[in-house]
Symmetry: C2
């Protein structure tokens, strides 16, 4: 591999930034990587474990002469950080971010981008339930998707950032801003909210112990508890900043759920049967389209779906 | 291994029964296994693939001289089948069932059990999204739980059936009827209903294609579509017959979900943060209790949870 950006600055040193650093080292993708985190404790940890070639005490110092600046802070903190570093960016540099929401990040960040600096938002769809500077690892992005939302950005700067993500191990796909936020609400944000809710309900019940829930869960529900352990700050910001798409999908979800609940209450077996037959057809259509296989492999260790 | 029941009769020849047959053959657990299915097509298929030592054209013929009779039909069909075979059971025989719901099955089946015949309900918590006589395989129950709900049954008959399930590969745990139905509503029935609903919502949207949903889903949501392809008849009966527990958990679920939805709509970040922090603590508590590991292993292929 070879250097794609001479100097990369990581602003925020959590799971994504630390994984980016180790993946950059693995591939030799940058001559120097600087890093900045708001908290002294995080900076101390980063220095102790060798995370970043140089850990800086200010964001302004970290972005000096950087060719790529990646904002890896919670979505709600992107705007203020960008305002702070804006006057200190090298002409021709590229600013990117790794937020799970794109419309509100672009609204917060884009107005601060100086003339001659490119802004190319991205969303690496990878993570674990762990967070912080010690949670990263070089293979996090391997074969995962990184969505690129150029939103009118310079083509050369966009293509170079795509090369960078490919070198980090990811597959990329360009997407429109609004579509990105809707797709992610469906495949990620609402499923996470549901997982949080279901774990909360199970815990509230008291009559069913948490340990029973884990013991008798198939991988599906067990993963509910796993994703419900994800970083609270990050997810708070996701829901606050992707409010529109989240509320739309939630509205549809509860509407459908209530229809099924009513069918259960009234004993309308035909409605339940028809609904379940339709979703089965959707799934079969997906398999026929070659997007997944029919092999039984629900959850971990090659196990099967619970009945 | 050695024979545990001389003759076993499987009533209904779907995923569970066919897997039981192959697992019995693997372990040499029965001298002869008879089978019956209501549909001629299923019986023909069973004969063609060698499913059961003898496929019978009536349930009455199948249960002749059987030491163990396992009802493997949808929950809603258990009562009528039991009424039909009741007069033809051998004294001392054990009747069992594999329904996902226990209270309503016991209410439907127990009144027909003749004096001198034992009834020991079970619930093997294993399955795939496939159904029918050709979907079974010998390893389906290996290391999975089979819940035993004796509900006052004879201890010797219960212990023998537990031995049988251990020989089929499963771990067993005894559980009270009401508790079984509540636990399963939490860990299985409601998560399935949510999966069905979420797949239906994604499909209805139109603006997000099914293929996009699969392509950009982490294992979690992809498994939603997988379980939403499960047998519609079986799941219709589960929800109709576990109505009480299902509606209770659904009520709690939507109550919690609405509270979070309101927090999103009003921008109450503190409430979201506090909720997510609480569910994280629940998850951590489960790990500390040794019920699961902290290793990131969300979904298939050792992948990670999507952000």
């Amino acid at each position: 591999m070879s250097v794609i950006y001479n100097r990369v600055a990581l602003i925020g040193l959590g799971l994504i930034a630390s994984s980016m650093f180790w993946a950059m080292k693995r591939g030799g993708l940058a001559a120097e990587v600087t890093g900045y985190a708001r908290s002294q404790a995080t900076r101390d940890t980063a220095r102790r474990i060798g995370l970043c070639d140089r850990v800086c005490d200010t964001a302004i110092e970290a972005v000096q002469d950087a060719d790529l600046i990646v904002l890896c802070v919670p979505v709600g903190a992107m705007g203020p950080v960008m305002a702070e570093i804006a006057p200190h960016l090298k002409p021709g540099a590229t600013v990117s971010d790794v937020g799970s929401v794109k419309k509100s990040v672009i609204e917060a960040v884009a107005p601060h981008i100086p003339a001659g600096v490119h802004f190319v938002p991205t969303h690496p769809m990878a993570g674990t339930e762990h967070s912080g500077p010690e949670s990263g690892f070089a293979t996090l992005f391997d074969n995962r998707w990184c969505l690129i939302v150029p939103d009118g950005a310079d083509e050369d700067a966009t293509a170079r950032l795509e090369d960078f993500w490919h070198a980090l191990g990811a597959k990329t796909e360009r997407m429109d801003v609004q579509h990105h936020d809707l797709v992610c609400a469906v495949v990620s944000h609402i499923p996470h909210l549901i997982a949080y809710t279901m774990v909360g309900v199970a815990d509230d019940l008291n009559r069913v112990s948490d340990q029973e829930v884990i013991k008798f869960s198939a991988a599906g529900f067990r993963d509910f508890t796993r994703i419900a352990a994800s970083d609270p700050t990050m997810w708070r910001d996701v829901f606050l900043t992707n409010k529109e798409a989240t509320l739309e999908i939630l509205g549809r979800f509860t509407e459908e759920l209530f229809a099924l609940q009513r069918a259960i209450r009234t004993g309308d077996g035909d409605q339940l049967f028809d609904y379940f037959t339709r979703t089965r057809a959707i799934r079969r259509g997906i398999i026929d389209a070659g997007q997944d296989t029919a092999a039984p492999d629900f959850g971990r260790g090659g196990g099967k779906a619970a009945e």
